[in-house]
């Protein structure tokens, strides 16, 4: 008995490191919470890596879900690819891939594959996972607080969403911090001021992520409509993939633009 997403990670990486387990299953891997039904990976942005992943998915009978082709032309623009199959116990297995996840510096991603972690499993580290979890969903911010506890204090204070940790760490390691919640703690504003600053910061992150996803959603509408019309999300992977690429070449812009703080180059 094993976590199928952990097993898939090992299968994808059998011939060399090409994926890193991310998001929900990385939260499970780090023993933070038992909360994800899907698997998310950062895939190395190369054609052979995409081909290797596709081969593993094809033998499992996967189909595309609505999403971009698993192809570096679109992955490099921040698009995501999504797949689904049923395992031998007929459980729904969903697999999601990006090569340029939001908010994670490109150098950090490149380093993951240049010097892969020597852990039992290739999973993103807590710091990277925190950046991935700065989404529009409120519950991710509870996970961030727990992940931040795995970091050294000088990093924890910059990322934690727990007001108690900000208050506790600020005098010790926060004196040079520019983070508003830390400044509020050091200014003697008390707990309410820290909680307020954290809430404002979280709302800003959520709104930024919402705007980012909305830009992709608008740009994807014609492509998705055409793929649905052609039935490509029900076709076997080997048939669907080249046809998805053809439609995407016509209808899906490689990138949709970024706002400061969205992307991978900061």
């Amino acid at each position: 008995m094993e976590n199928i997403y952990f097993a898939l990670t090992e299968a994808f990486n059998r011939d060399g490191p090409i994926v890193v387990l991310a998001s929900g299953q990385a939260v499970v891997y780090h023993r933070i919470a038992m909360m994800s039904k899907d698997g998310d990976w950062i895939v190395q942005q190369t054609a052979p890596a995409c081909a290797r992943v596709m081969a593993e998915l094809a033998v499992r009978g996967a189909r595309y879900r609505p999403g971009a082709p698993l192809d570096i032309r679109w992955l490099s623009g921040g698009w995501s690819s999504h797949f689904e199959f049923a395992d031998d116990r007929r459980r729904r297995i969903r697999c999601d891939f990006v090569s340029r996840p939001p908010r994670v510096p490109m150098a950090l991603i490149d380093e993951m594959f240049r010097h892969p972690a020597r852990e039992p499993l290739a999973a993103v580290d807590p710091h990277t996972l925190i950046l991935l979890k700065q989404t529009q969903r409120a519950k991710d911010y509870a996970v961030i607080a727990e992940l931040a506890r795995r970091l050294p204090p000088e990093q924890e204070i910059e990322l934690t969403t727990d007001p108690d940790r900000v208050l506790a760490l600020a005098p010790e390691v926060g004196t040079s911090s520019a983070r508003p919640a830390v400044r509020a703690a050091l200014a003697g504003g008390g707990r309410v001021a820290v909680v307020t600053a954290l809430a404002v910061e979280t709302d800003g992150l959520q709104q930024r992520d919402r705007r980012r996803v909305a830009r992709y959603q608008r740009a994807a509408e014609p492509y998705l409509a055409e793929c649905r019309r052609l039935g490509l999300f029900e076709a076997p992977l080997g048939d669907a993939h080249p046809r998805l690429c053809d439609v995407a070449a016509q209808q899906l812009p490689p990138g949709v633009g970024e706002e400061v703080g969205d992307g991978h180059a900061e």
Binding site: N3, R31, I32, R63, R92, D96, K139, E146, L224
Partner: protein, 85 residues
């Protein structure tokens, strides 16, 4: 301030094998909510799935006997946490 439940925080004390078993049981039970899962919330296609014919998700995925033998029981109207982080 504890932001997660004791059940979550206790994961840290599990061995790899215990974690795998716990996740497997949780995943089995979580299949019961597949039909009512929200559109997926990662990547950049949030909400795109509502108009799509489901593939594997349209089939029954968990034998009721598995659930009957599971440690935890579902009562009518109960739901499991099915969202992905």
């Amino acid at each position: 301030m504890d932001m997660l439940s004791e059940d979550d925080l206790n994961l840290g004390e599990m061995t790899d094998e215990e974690l795998a078993r716990a996740w497997d049981l949780w995943f089995d039970l979580a299949q019961t909510t597949n039909e009512s899962d929200p559109p997926y919330t990662h990547g950049v296609f949030v909400g795109a799935e509502a108009d799509t014919v489901a593939s594997a998700s349209s089939r029954p995925l968990v034998d009721q006997r598995q659930l009957d033998g599971a440690q935890y029981r579902l009562r009518s109207g109960d739901t499991l946490g099915s969202e992905k982080p």
